[in-house]
């Protein structure tokens, strides 16, 4: 077990490094209003964050990460472009694995910049990598943006695209819906049964807040869906191909260019991957050996909607990622109620750096 003092020193060193690089140091409260986080992440966050409460302010959460408060702070009074750094504890409830820490330090570097996303992505990645020094770590990268673009371009109903989009970060539900919409699996048997009925309501009394009109509206939607054409097989194959892209950066890009031939609408997203690769190379990253996986981070990193990355110790696969990050434009859109500020950032866990023998 590494001493707290050593970890604090490492956190201070990392933050000082980010400050030298031009980031403004910021602080956020440890107690965050639970409402915002629950609205963003849903009930699942309760399994991952500590919730407490008092009679005056209601439910509060012990900060599970810095991203949300830093975004809120920037949206309230920050001028774009901006670079921020911070260091402090985050708290994660652990219900399954007693070996995972429930309290640890994070040091972050975040960029809010409208002008050049590829440069900003590359800068964050390179700064985090530089902070990690010469620790032997494997970098994983990905980009959910390609999958998002493909779903947006599916030749099907608006309602089906929205359903898939809503579950993009839940791979199992996404797959089940895709298979159904493609006609690979049948809809639930009970659905066909009640759609065939003249009066599906019977004598059930109207109770609860959900109105009869809402129920009728969904029945109409289901009726329309029952006769909608399946998603063309070619489109589904494109999704499958994207999800299977897992190679070193140049090969992955070549693969994505091939897929673009079948679905030109993902071209813009693929060009972003290419521009980022070039920007990474300019920052001195060896892109020839850099891993790229199109579905990387899909199940753990909600609200990352573009570039995503993580650094892992290959000699200690039991440890979680030493550093992670990504682009979260969607998060700023939700928190900004329409106003969007493109943003990308990453965090390092100084405790893991020290444990692996790195740092100063």
């Amino acid at each position: 077990m590494s001493s707290r003092a050593a970890i604090r020193n490492e956190a201070a060193r990392l933050r000082a490094g980010f400050e030298t690089a031009g980031a403004l140091p910021v602080e956020t409260a440890i107690l965050q209003p639970a409402e915002v986080l629950l609205d963003l992440y849903g009930e699942d966050i309760r399994a991952r964050a500590y919730v407490t409460s008092d009679a005056l302010r209601g439910e509060q959460m012990l900060r599970p990460d810095f991203t949300v408060p830093v975004v809120q702070m920037h949206m309230q009074h920050g001028a774009t472009p901006a670079r921020y750094t911070y260091a402090g504890e985050v708290f994660r409830r652990q219900e399954d694995d007693p070996d995972r820490a429930n309290e640890y330090l994070q040091v972050g570097y975040e960029i809010f910049d409208k002008e050049n996303p590829a440069e900003a992505d590359a800068e964050v990645f390179a700064r985090i990598r530089a902070g990690l020094g010469d620790l032997p770590l494997r970098a994983a990268t990905g980009d959910i943006g390609v999958l998002l673009a493909a779903v947006t371009a599916l030749r099907t109903t608006e309602q089906r695209r929205a359903a898939l989009m809503r579950h993009i970060w839940r791979p199992r539900r996404f797959r089940a819906l895709l298979d159904r919409f493609a006609g690979r699996t049948p809809p639930p048997a009970s659905r066909a049964a009640f759609l065939a009925e003249d009066d599906p309501f019977g004598d059930a009394p109207q109770i609860g807040l959900r109105s009869r009109a809402e129920i009728e509206e969904r029945i109409a939607t289901l009726r329309a869906d029952a006769v909608a054409e399946p998603i063309p097989e070619g489109d589904v194959l494109v999704i499958d191909s994207i999800l299977n892209v897992r190679e070193t950066m140049p090969h992955a890009l070549a693969r994505l260019h091939d897929i673009t031939v079948d679905m030109p609408a993902i071209g813009t997203a693929v060009n972003r991957v290419e521009a980022r690769m070039e920007a990474l190379a300019r920052c001195g990253v060896d892109v020839e050996t850099l891993d790229f996986e199109a579905s990387y981070g899909r199940s753990q990193m909600e609200y990352y909607d573009g570039f995503v990355f993580g650094f892992y110790s290959e000699s200690r696969p039991d440890l979680p990622a030493v550093a992670t990050g990504g682009r979260y434009d969607a998060l700023t859109r939700v928190l900004g109620q329409g106003a969007e500020i493109p943003a990308v950032g990453g965090v390092i866990r100084p405790g893991l750096v020290v444990e692996l023998g790195g740092g100063a």
């Binding site: 629950l38 009930e43 059930a204 129920i215």
Partner: protein, 231 residues
């Protein structure tokens, strides 16, 4: 020293537990007045009867303050994280059957499975501006079940009793609760989701993996288990 056996302190659950042990040659009985929570064990030596609320037995097992305990699997799974690391299931007792299920109003003709519930949660949030409320006291079990099944845009609201009434009272849109016959659900105009069975529960004898035990007590425990035919 002795082996501590935790048993529900009142009601049918207590009586049936006493019957189950009695049928296997171990007599459990309450002593003193009707209201006094103390008891005796006959048929095996050095076993101490601890009368507890069924809801507290999981905690006592996990803390190792009792060696054996009788309670519902629903309470063990809900209240103990990583329950199979903390306790061992020795024997289902064949009573106290109850299913933890998800139910929605009968009038929701368009909702019969989790897939529907998820779609309606999205619709409800868009219309009403807040996440669809599910009333329950089984927060952990319900949340894990819904996460595994990819249901989003819901919230759990705490309900410690009369849960089936929350929909009519408009404090929840759906419920997750224990049912045995389904009568209460039907009386409150609710229906089960066809894939909404979260857990099948029954009264079960558990052994704590956390309780300290001397060599002498281990012999007592082995004898007891042999007598009960659960080894």
């Amino acid at each position: 020293m002795s082996i501590k056996l935790g048993v529900p302190s009142k009601g049918r659950l207590m009586e049936k537990t006493f019957d189950w042990f009695g049928a296997r040659g171990v007599t459990l009985a309450r002593t003193g007045s009707e209201r006094e929570y103390s008891g005796i064990v006959e048929g095996v030596e050095n076993v101490e009867l601890i009368l507890l609320s069924a809801g507290e037995i999981p905690r006592e097992l996990a803390a190792g303050r009792i060696h054996l305990g009788v309670t519902g699997t629903d309470l063990i799974h809900e209240k103990i994280a990583g329950w199979d690391m903390q306790v061992e299931e020795l024997a289902p007792l064949g009573f106290g059957f109850a299913d933890l299920i998800l139910a929605v109003p009968n009038v929701w003709a368009d909702v019969n499975c989790l897939d529907d519930l998820d779609a309606v949660a999205a619709q409800f949030r868009a219309k009403h501006g807040f996440r669809l409320r599910i009333a329950t006291k089984y927060h952990r079990l319900v949340r894990e079940f819904l996460r595994e099944n990819g249901v989003a845009d819901y919230q759990l609201v705490d309900s410690q009793g009369a849960t089936e009434g929350t929909v009519r009272n408009e404090t929840a849109e759906a419920v997750a609760d224990i049912t045995t016959t389904g009568d209460t659900l039907r009386a409150n105009h609710l229906k089960l989701l066809e894939d909404g069975l979260i857990l099948k529960s029954q009264a079960t004898l558990f052994r704590s993996r956390k309780a300290e035990i001397s060599d002498a007590d281990r012999k007592v425990l082995n004898t007891l288990c042999k007598t009960l035919k659960v080894d």
